[in-house]
């Protein structure tokens, strides 16, 4: 379990994380969403004791990370896959980590097998592609068989097969009862991988809820309708207060009215319907809508030359 309470981290005067509180529970994959610069990596660094919070606390299994005596046995983390010495062989990199936490040397071979790097174990990590480094970093995270796992953008640099592999791995780890905390800006990936979501923008909490509930709560119902008597249907819908716009695929997009109401209305006006298709907003749409006010760097039209707010690191 990861517990973050009232966490604030300032770089100079700019708060990167601002009074953030949330709990990551075991047995499910919790996604950590936010635009670039929203404070995801900072929060993870504070959880891992690498950065000191300006105020507030972050604990893992009830204890501050810096007080853990053999942390790799409790927490596995992949923050930055490039954070290793390129001149060291993959197996030696893992061996040094195993020694630091008094883990048996056999774990090196086991995790190399698990992440599919056994064949390149004796190659220097500097020669690895980003995808291979991600796998090595994931192997390092799993070395101590920890109950809590943190991954910062783990699918970065992975190909389709690699992304599917990590998705299955994360779900399996959560199913084993582990706490899995995963940041990503790839909404589609989160929708497939995460059960629960912690959403932040500008270092503040925007939502802490299940993926399904998040979409349901923030979705405005949109329904695609088609009818051979489009004009009559349109008039009836607008008279009843719906917002109607042409659908790029032909027909109309109706907002502000449920599919059931639209069907009843069509029946009432005796208009035949050829399609009545409710659209579920994707996580991406919901998320984009929620965070547009929180995006730090937004492209401004050339006429609006107001300086954007600078942010540390």
């Amino acid at each position: 379990m990861i517990d973050v309470q009232g966490l604030t981290k300032r770089y100079g005067r700019t708060p990167a994380v601002d009074d953030l509180s949330f709990t990551v529970r075991p047995g499910r994959v919790t996604g950590f969403l936010g635009p670039n610069g929203s404070g995801k990596s900072t929060t993870m660094r504070v959880i891992l004791g690498l950065d000191r919070p300006s105020s507030g606390t972050a604990t893992v299994n009830g204890r501050p990370y810096r007080s853990l005596r053999a942390p790799l046995r409790e927490v596995g983390a992949l923050l930055d896959a490039t954070a290793l010495h390129g001149g060291r062989r993959a197996a030696d990199h893992l061996l040094a980590l195993a020694h630091s936490n008094r883990l048996p040397e056999r774990r090196v071979g086991e995790v190399l097998d698990l992440v599919g790097l056994s064949d390149v174990a004796q190659r220097r990590a500097g020669a690895f592609s980003l995808g291979m480094r991600q796998r090595l970093g994931i192997g390092a995270a799993l070395l101590g068989d920890p109950s809590v796992l943190l991954f910062d953008e783990p699918v970065n640099g992975l190909d389709t097969e690699g992304i599917r592999w990590i998705r299955d791995l994360l779900r399996r780890l959560a199913a084993e009862g582990r706490t899995v905390f995963l940041s990503s800006h790839l909404m589609s990936e989160m929708e497939l991988t995460a059960d629960h979501l912690v959403v932040i923008g500008r270092g503040r909490l925007i939502a802490d809820t299940t993926v399904t509930e998040f979409i349901d709560t923030h979705t405005r119902p949109v329904t695609v309708v088609r009818s051979p008597r489009g004009a009559d249907l349109l008039a009836g819908l607008e008279a009843a207060g719906a917002v109607v716009a042409p659908d790029p695929g032909g027909g109309w997009r109706v907002t502000g009215m449920s599919a059931a109401t639209i069907g009843d209305l069509a029946h009432h006006h005796a208009v035949p319907l050829h399609a009545l298709h409710p659209l579920r907003s994707t996580l991406e749409e919901v998320y984009t809508r929620l965070t547009t006010t929180s995006v730090e760097y937004r492209a401004l039209p050339p006429t609006d030359a107001a300086p954007t707010e600078a942010v540390a690191r």
């Binding site: 690498l50 950065d51 290793l84 010495h85 060291r88 030696d92 980590l97 936490n101 008094r102 086991e110």
Partner: protein, 257 residues
């Protein structure tokens, strides 16, 4: 998923073992260690073969002084490299995640560097003295007292390796750290003669001053290096090495990684 993983506590011993594994698995640290071992015998041979010593010099001083400066610089670079290499690559974050106690991490690094420097320098200092004796025997030079002077030379060079760890951790960049330690090693010798009466204080607390006294060199006049004994001067060097490492630990604790 992984069976029994054994004892769940790890401390200083594990940190040292981990740092040793890291040390021996990278080419740069291994290469610098080889250079460190070669410095003393090589310079002893050059000095003796070219007869580059004063008539009142000892064989001990001639065999060790030139090489010791080189060995100090190499040891300092080695110490710095062990830390700055991790800051350069970001490996330090992985290290501090595996062992979140900066004091333990730096102490383990310093221990490995000290162990390697001492283990490599001790035989190479004896070899350098041996080379000097063979090449300069019968040329009319005093031999000098090799024991415990040789141990003092080894300790002084070892202290500089540890100083390199501390400075490397503070400065975080290889070039900057090495430049800083080179400054500490060489600048007192360049500046002290310009300082009149203060020279003996600066010279006496300098690393080179320690080595000159240890090897009973003719350069070790009270005017140049003060009247502090060789071992007391070494203690001064050890003291500021420890202060530097302490400062590095404090900085590592308070700065974000």
């Amino acid at each position: 998923m992984s069976g029994d993983l054994g004892d769940a506590r790890a401390g200083f011993g594990e940190a040292v073992r981990s740092e040793w594994t890291k040390f021996r698995t990278v080419r740069s640290t291994v290469g610098v260690t080889v250079a460190l071992g070669a410095a003393l015998p090589l310079l002893a041979a050059v000095v003796a073969a070219t007869g580059s010593l004063q008539p009142d010099d000892t064989i001990l001083g001639a065999s060790l002084l030139g090489g010791a400066v080189l060995a100090q610089l190499t040891a300092a670079a080695l110490g710095a490299l062990v830390v700055t290499g991790e800051f350069r690559t970001g490996m330090i974050r992985t290290t501090l995640t595996a062992c979140p106690r900066p004091l333990v991490v730096l102490a383990a690094k310093a221990t490995v560097v000290a162990g390697v420097v001492a283990a490599v320098t001790a035989p190479s200092a004896v070899a350098a003295f041996g080379i000097g004796r063979v090449l300069l025997d019968g040329d009319g030079y005093a031999t000098g007292d090799p024991f415990p002077a040789l141990a003092g030379v080894v300790l002084a060079i070892t202290a500089i390796g540890v100083l390199g760890v501390g400075v490397g951790s503070m400065v975080r960049h290889s070039a900057g750290a090495i430049a800083a330690v080179v400054g500490v090693v060489l600048v007192p010798g360049l500046v002290a003669p310009l300082l009149g009466d203060v020279e003996r204080w600066v010279g006496g607390a300098s690393l080179n001053g320690v080595l000159q006294k240890m090897t009973q060199s003719s350069d070790a006049t009270p005017e140049a290096v003060g009247s502090l004994g060789a071992w007391l001067s070494l203690a001064v060097v050890a003291a500021y090495t420890l202060v530097t490492v302490g400062g590095a630990v404090w900085l590592l604790r308070s700065r974000d990684s």
